[in-house]
């Protein structure tokens, strides 16, 4: 084979310029059709591995949840902001990228108009997409596959969407030595759900993370960033809204304003006692309002953890409204249920 390559000479097209396909792009993709409510499905590993037994890098994971029906049905079919309710779990078989389910929406900062939704109209189909650029490229040994599980967490009426998962990376030439260590991405999440209407006597709602943001490994964990998404919806009586969810609001929209007196505040410290955000601070002052992300850039020792405390002031609250002008009741409804999803993105080093 080497004699053939040498006879052909350097390739002007392929990177590496030795005709050895080193660095050639690689795109692997599979999908889940219409996961039913509560369903857990595993993507086809055969579609998510290169056909040849060569090592490769994975640089990005892209996830898209796309509705395949537009418009409303009388029985309250749901066309959601899917990134709020589609959870994923990745594993190489030997190494897990997350301990538990992680909503797709917290894997990456928002990069613009990455989500649209349709509550109850004949608008185009709703969709959500996430582009998770891994903190470090993930080395995959020959024949190894990054397995993916998908879960539809929405607990109410039927949903109508497909989930597409794509890996974007590069092939590595056969015979090229593997790296000394593998930098394995890690993602974790903490969901903070308030379920009470603001005017039902609960004036202050307080919650704290437990061990969601612990470093479970015996090696250091490097935290690249924290992400945050907030979703507000009405789980009240109106049949049109009862099964409806809404896309993540921009974090900037979750801040205090004359029309939003219920806003989450966070206080953050680590398990060694270091204060990171010493006093309760509105989330839009902690996270970038547009990207919903906070570049953290700090190491966490084995078994150490970051502790989040969230305070939601419900007194005299007027919650964020969700944009709905087509269903009843009109005008726009005041949200009564709030789900704040915090995500930790990082990586640790493992042997190849």
């Amino acid at each position: 084979m080497d004699r053939v390559r040498n006879a052909l000479g350097p390739s002007p097209i392929l990177p590496g310029s030795r005709g050895d396909f080193s660095g050639a792009p690689l795109v692997l993709s599979d999908s889940i059709a219409n996961p039913s409510v509560g369903q857990i499905a595993m993507l086809n590993s055969g579609n998510l591995s290169p056909g040849n037994r060569t090592p490769y890098w994975i640089d990005e994971v892209r996830i898209a949840a796309v509705a395949y029906k537009a418009g409303a049905t009388a029985n309250g079919a749901v066309y959601l902001g899917q990134s709020a309710f589609v959870d994923v779990k990745f594993s190489t078989g030997r190494y897990d990228l997350m301990r538990d389910w992680v909503p797709m929406g917290v894997l990456a900062p928002r990069f613009g108009n990455d989500e649209s939704w349709d509550g109850y109209s004949t608008a185009p189909r709703p969709w959500a997409e996430v582009r998770w650029v891994l903190p470090k490229p993930l080395y995959m040994s020959p024949g190894e596959v990054l397995q993916c599980q998908v879960r539809n967490r929405w607990a109410s009426a039927q949903t109508y969407f497909n989930v597409y998962v794509t890996y974007v990376g590069r092939q590595i030439a056969q015979g090229e030595p593997p790296p000394a260590v593998r930098q394995v991405p890690y993602a974790a999440t903490w969901n903070y759900l308030t379920a009470s209407k603001p005017n039902q006597g609960d004036y202050v709602r307080y919650a704290a993370s437990n061990d969601q943001f612990v470093n479970p490994f015996s090696t250091p964990l490097w935290i690249q960033r924290f992400t945050m998404r907030g979703i507000a919806y009405d789980s009240g009586a109106a049949v049109n809204a009862a099964t409806r969810g809404f896309p993540f609001q921009s974090v900037a929209g979750l801040g205090p304003s004359p029309t939003n007196t219920f806003y989450p505040q966070v206080r953050i410290a680590d398990s060694l006692g270091y204060s990171i955000v010493p006093e309760y601070t509105p989330v839009n002052d902690v996270f970038d309002g547009v990207r919903g992300a906070w570049t953290f850039g700090r190491g966490l020792g084995p078994r150490e953890q970051i502790n989040f405390q969230v305070l939601g002031n419900l007194a005299d609250a007027v919650g964020p409204v969700y944009p709905d002008t087509t269903s009843t009741p009109n005008p726009p409804n005041v949200a009564t249920t709030f789900n704040y999803q915090f995500g930790l993105i990082g990586y640790r080093e493992e042997a190849v």
């Binding site: 900037a252 205090p256 304003s257 955000v277 509105p282 309002g289 700090r298």
Partner: protein, 283 residues
């Protein structure tokens, strides 16, 4: 992953509510004190409206590190923070030209004010019960981090005016290096507010105190300070006593009343840093 220890740190405090022009309120100093034992580095100051949108033209801030000032007098937030959100100033961020080293125990203080924008030619826009939240974004350092002998302290000065008549020349004392050490200038930040119904093009000219041109001729304001950023980056050194002149030329427009056409608030902030001896507790 090896190297010195540091951990992100966000300190936050509120001043308010502000209800009218001419008010001056201090952010609770306790909110701006590093609760961890070591020193800290400050990378950003962030400002947002607590309970309402923040008009960065209506508020000014004066910050001190111990006895060391970061500005000679309150600087308008719109001269401090470049715009990066197209629609509204939900969050105004001042990225420091160099991280500010804060030794353990040295107090950071901040005073927010609501200066008048217009000098009687027009009414100032109303301030309706707005509090301002200031967030200090930086990093905690290890307790055994060495304290440097001198630190880079940001410095911001501002020339602020409403343009009346046809031309404005900034007073020499506005954009001056009043220190006895060199001032490293990194950028200019500008914003303007107007009650004009129609307006003609405003032009800008900048010269150094020794006569050297910086912005030569009459450059349209929007080309120098683009609408989406309001930022002019540069790298210059002002020696002690040197200053920069700004000339704004704004001819009277072709329609409307003369008073209203000329009534415009414009601010230009000069950003930089100088080296000072590291402050100590009580210093």
């Amino acid at each position: 992953m090896s190297g010195k220890f540091w951990s992100p740190l966000l300190l936050s405090g509120v001043a308010g509510p502000f209800t009218t022009q001419g008010m001056s309120l201090t952010v609770n100093p306790r909110s701006l004190l590093n609760p961890n034992r070591g020193p800290m580095l400050i990378d950003q100051f962030r400002f947002s409206g607590d309970g309402g949108a923040l008009n960065t033209n209506q508020f000014a801030v004066e910050i001190r590190l111990g006895a060391v000032p970061l500005m000679p007098r309150p600087v308008t937030l719109s001269a401090l923070c470049p715009r990066y959100l197209a629609a509204s100033e939900a969050l105004a961020v001042w990225h420091l030209p160099k991280p500010l080293f804060v030794p353990p125990g040295v107090q950071l203080t901040a005073k927010l004010t609501t200066p008048r924008l217009y000098n009687g030619l027009s009414s100032d826009p109303a301030i309706s019960n707005v509090s301002v939240r200031m967030t200090v974004a930086g990093r905690s350092l290890a307790e055994d981090e060495a304290i440097p002998k001198s630190i880079a302290v940001p410095w911001v000065t501002e020339t602020r005016t409403q343009v009346t008549g046809t031309k404005f020349v900034s007073p020499g004392v506005d954009l001056i290096n009043a220190h006895d050490v060199p001032l490293y200038v990194s950028q200019f930040v500008s914003a303007r507010d107007t009650v004009l119904t129609t307006r003609s093009e405003m032009t800008v000219e900048m010269t150094a105190s020794d006569g050297s041109p910086i912005v030569r001729g009459q450059t349209p304001y929007q080309l120098l300070f683009p609408t989406d950023r309001g930022l002019l980056e540069m790298s210059a050194v002002l020696q002690p006593g040197q200053f920069i002149n700004v000339i704004l030329d704004h001819p009277v427009g072709s329609s409307g009343t003369a008073g209203q056409l000329d009534c415009q608030f414009t601010t230009i902030g000069m950003h930089g840093y100088r080296m000072v001896p590291t402050p100590t507790i009580g210093g």
